[in-house]
């Protein structure tokens, strides 16, 4: 659920632990990852402004949109950007990532204009510089002490165009383990990359939010024209699937539906479906080989054939001839009768044996069960 994500980001990191990190991933089938990203961004920003979250500042590393876009978006979402200098810094990797305009300006071809609001970063291939700049900007916002700030990376997909995966992984894991970082979240377009990239980034994140389309087989090509309007409608909707890694080692899985409206993305909860996840995990054992407490007690109560002998009482051997009439019950030892009736009432079954004729002697070899003494 989007709210739980925002709450986890708001709560931030505990002392000695890695900061919570979120991967938002989407595909071309349902390309609304950026909307989810901006939603989380605006929620985080409003929580920071209201003072309700652990982090006191936000550094946005912007690759795919310009800083002014973000400021406008935040203003539209109702976040007060007038005081933005104090709590947000947008690192501009969008305008001039490789420094070409700067080089052209130096040679005098292009006029140079520098924007005062955000910090222009012109060297995206240098990950160390990016790292130190993020930390510098962040501590510029919150000071040097114990106060933390959050980091939002616009699009790790863009970052991976310039920098190999291992360096991005190093950056993210360093940021996560830094004392001053409260939380970090980023966007990834998972179908552009290798599986390895996606799994590595998921390995590094404590929450994975994926944006999926409603119908699995929609790649835009299937579906006849008659259903076009339905397809369009369905395109605006989708599933929002989140996996939280909890501290006790379990994974919390949540599902929601979202809908792209005029004013942005809206989340609604989905009806609970039967979980088919568990079947893959449990091995196919058919029998329960352990005994519960109740079953152990029952087992202790079973009287085995010769067990009650040797206790000093006279030994009675059942030979099938005599029926256990009520008056002869008194002759049978008291403790066995009690356990027998208990057993009978528990088991619910009896063996009633009628001898063929009374002529047969009790100790005949034909029926060894005569010796049984129950």
């Amino acid at each position: 659920m989007a709210d739980s994500i925002c709450r986890t980001i708001r709560d931030g990191a505990l002392e000695g632990e890695h900061a919570p990190s979120l991967t938002i991933k989407d595909t071309t089938a349902s390309p609304y990852g950026f909307d989810v990203f901006t939603h989380v961004l605006s929620q985080t920003a409003s929580l920071i402004l209201a003072g309700k979250s652990q982090s006191r500042g936000l550094v946005v590393v912007a690759y795919s949109r310009s800083p002014s876009f973000y400021l406008d978006y935040l203003k539209r979402s109702g976040v007060d950007v007038a005081s933005s200098q104090k709590w947000i810094h947008i690192l501009d990797c969008y305008m001039d990532p490789l420094g070409w305009k700067h080089q052209l300006a130096e040679t005098g071809i292009l006029p140079s204009n520098s924007s005062a609001d955000s910090c222009l970063f012109q060297d995206v291939k240098d990950i160390n510089k990016l790292h130190s700049l993020i930390l510098e900007l962040g501590s510029g916002l919150v000071g040097q002490g114990k106060v933390r700030f959050s980091v939002a990376i616009d699009s790790v997909t863009e970052m991976l165009r310039h920098v190999p995966l291992s360096k991005v992984a190093v950056l993210i894991s360093d940021l996560r383990s830094h004392d001053q970082i409260s939380s970090i979240f980023w966007l990834l377009h998972s179908d552009i990359h290798d599986v390895r990239v996606t799994t590595s980034l998921e390995y590094l994140s404590s929450m994975v939010a994926s944006v999926e389309s409603l119908n699995q087989s929609s790649d835009g090509l299937s579906g006849d024209l008659g259903n076009l309007s339905l397809l369009e409608q369905n395109f605006r909707r989708g599933k929002f699937h989140v996996r939280f890694k909890r501290r006790n080692g379990r994974v919390r899985v949540m599902n929601e539906q979202f809908h792209m409206g005029e004013s942005g993305i809206k989340f609604t909860s989905v009806t609970v479906e039967d979980g088919l996840v568990s079947q893959g995990l449990v091995p196919k054992v058919l029998f329960n080989l352990e005994l519960s407490e109740k079953e152990k007690l029952e087992r202790a109560r079973v009287v085995l054939p010769f067990e009650h002998q040797g206790n000093g009482k006279p030994i009675q051997i059942y030979d099938g001839r005599r029926s256990l009439a009520p008056e002869s019950m008194g002759e049978v030892s008291a403790d066995t009768s009690q356990s027998n009736t208990e057993e009978c009432s528990n088991g619910g079954g009896e063996i009633i044996y009628f001898r063929d004729s009374d002529d047969e002697r009790p100790d005949s070899d034909e029926d060894p069960d005569d010796d049984l003494d129950i």
């Binding site: 291992s166 894991s173 383990s177 998921e202 996840v277 995990l281 085995l304 040797g310």
Partner: protein
């Protein structure tokens, strides 16, 4: 397993005389191997008494859960408590800091009541015709427990290990994060293992190597898959000829499938850990004790050194539980009795039990 071996053939192994006077931390295993404890008594029992000296244990991590850390912690603590030299490699910047989080052995008065249950089951009740002439037989297992105390310990995950156990020359830590290539790690491992050569004399001391999250994405060298493969291979052969045990954990989803298979084949003992979904009603219905389970441990391969006889385990999937959030316990899975009134029967799936006495929503 009892300390005495049953003679199944007329041949007997010519053990060196000094081996009978071993330290309690090493046990004699089958086929001329010596076993050390993994730090988790349940795992020792499943593996046949312990981990054989000279074997390479590989743990396949689940990227969603840190259960491999539980295994590593117990393994490392067991070695430190028994004063065995340790080499620890991890992708964090400060591996030594991790040593401060290792668990301490639990004191005997905190012992779980689970052992009491085990003893109760062991006593056989014999229904025997001539019992009335003789007294009852009772098997006495108390003698075994004293031995086990020194071979393996229960660890209390909430109490950190005393500092004097790991501040010593015999504990070495490496950070794999900034290593430019894997050769540096290989050299350290080889020089560490040269302290424990294997010869026919008695075992002087044993060593442990714990490598955490080999091939984590933060490590620079994680791209070089062939180099890592040859590192594991050389480590395996070096460990085999030394009196040591090495444990390597790696995130299996981050290695390409063909290399993952190769790495798995190199292991003497292969286990994998798996996370379970939280608050999953289906799983809660399927398993008893779901609330306490934090994950599953699958044993794929049991170390079989010096023998061709395969080991058939009763159960290859164990549940990882934290009892009272302190003690790591591995248990066989207990499936709750399935409600007979719901779901489809097994008969439809063609399993060997033709009559469907149990039914449920599972479909095999």
């Amino acid at each position: 397993m009892a300390a005495t071996k049953t003679r199944t053939s007329s041949f007997s192994r010519n053990l060196p005389a000094a081996s009978s006077a071993q330290s309690p931390e090493i046990k004699c295993g089958p086929n001329g191997t010596f076993l050390v404890s993994s730090g988790i008594p349940d795992l020792d029992k499943t593996l046949g008494g312990g981990i054989p000296l000279g074997s390479l244990v590989m743990v396949m991590e689940d990227s969603e859960a840190p259960h491999h850390m539980l295994l590593l912690r117990n393994f490392m603590s067991q070695g430190l408590v028994q004063k065995q030299p340790l080499l620890y490699a991890s992708p964090s910047k400060d591996p030594r800091g991790f040593l401060g989080t290792l668990p301490s052995p639990s004191s005997p008065k905190d012992d779980k009541s689970r052992s009491h249950d085990a003893e109760q089951e062991k006593g056989l009740r014999i229904a025997w015709q001539y019992k009335k002439y003789f007294g009852e037989n009772q098997s006495n297992l108390d003698g075994q427990r004293d031995n086990k105390q020194e071979f393996s310990n229960e660890f209390d995950l909430r109490r950190p290990l005393d500092r004097h156990f790991y501040t010593g020359q015999h504990v070495d830590c490496i950070s794999t994060k900034d290593l430019p290539n894997i050769a540096a790690l290989q050299e350290r491992c080889t020089s560490f293992l040269s302290q424990f050569p294997r010869n026919d004399a008695s075992i002087a001391c044993t060593g442990r190597i714990a490598i955490q999250s080999l091939c984590a994405p933060q490590c620079e060298s994680s791209n070089m898959e062939w180099e890592m493969l040859s590192f594991i291979r050389s480590l395996k052969s070096t460990v085999r000829s030394a009196n040591a045990v090495a444990i390597i954990t790696f995130p299996s989803s981050l290695v390409s499938p063909s290399f993952c298979k190769r790495w798995q084949h190199l292991a003497d003992c292969l286990v994998s850990v798996k996370a379970i979904p939280d608050e999953d009603k289906e799983l809660a219905k399927l398993l008893t004790g779901y609330q306490e389970i934090v994950g599953f441990l699958n044993i794929h391969r049991v170390p079989r050194i010096n023998t061709q006889v395969p080991a058939v385990l009763e159960a290859t999937t164990l549940s990882i539980k934290l009892q009272k959030r302190r003690y790591l316990v591995l248990e066989c899975l207990n499936q709750a009795p399935v409600d007979g009134s719901s779901g489809s029967s097994y008969g439809t799936s063609g399993s060997c039990s033709g009559s469907s006495s149990k039914s449920g929503s599972l479909d095999f």
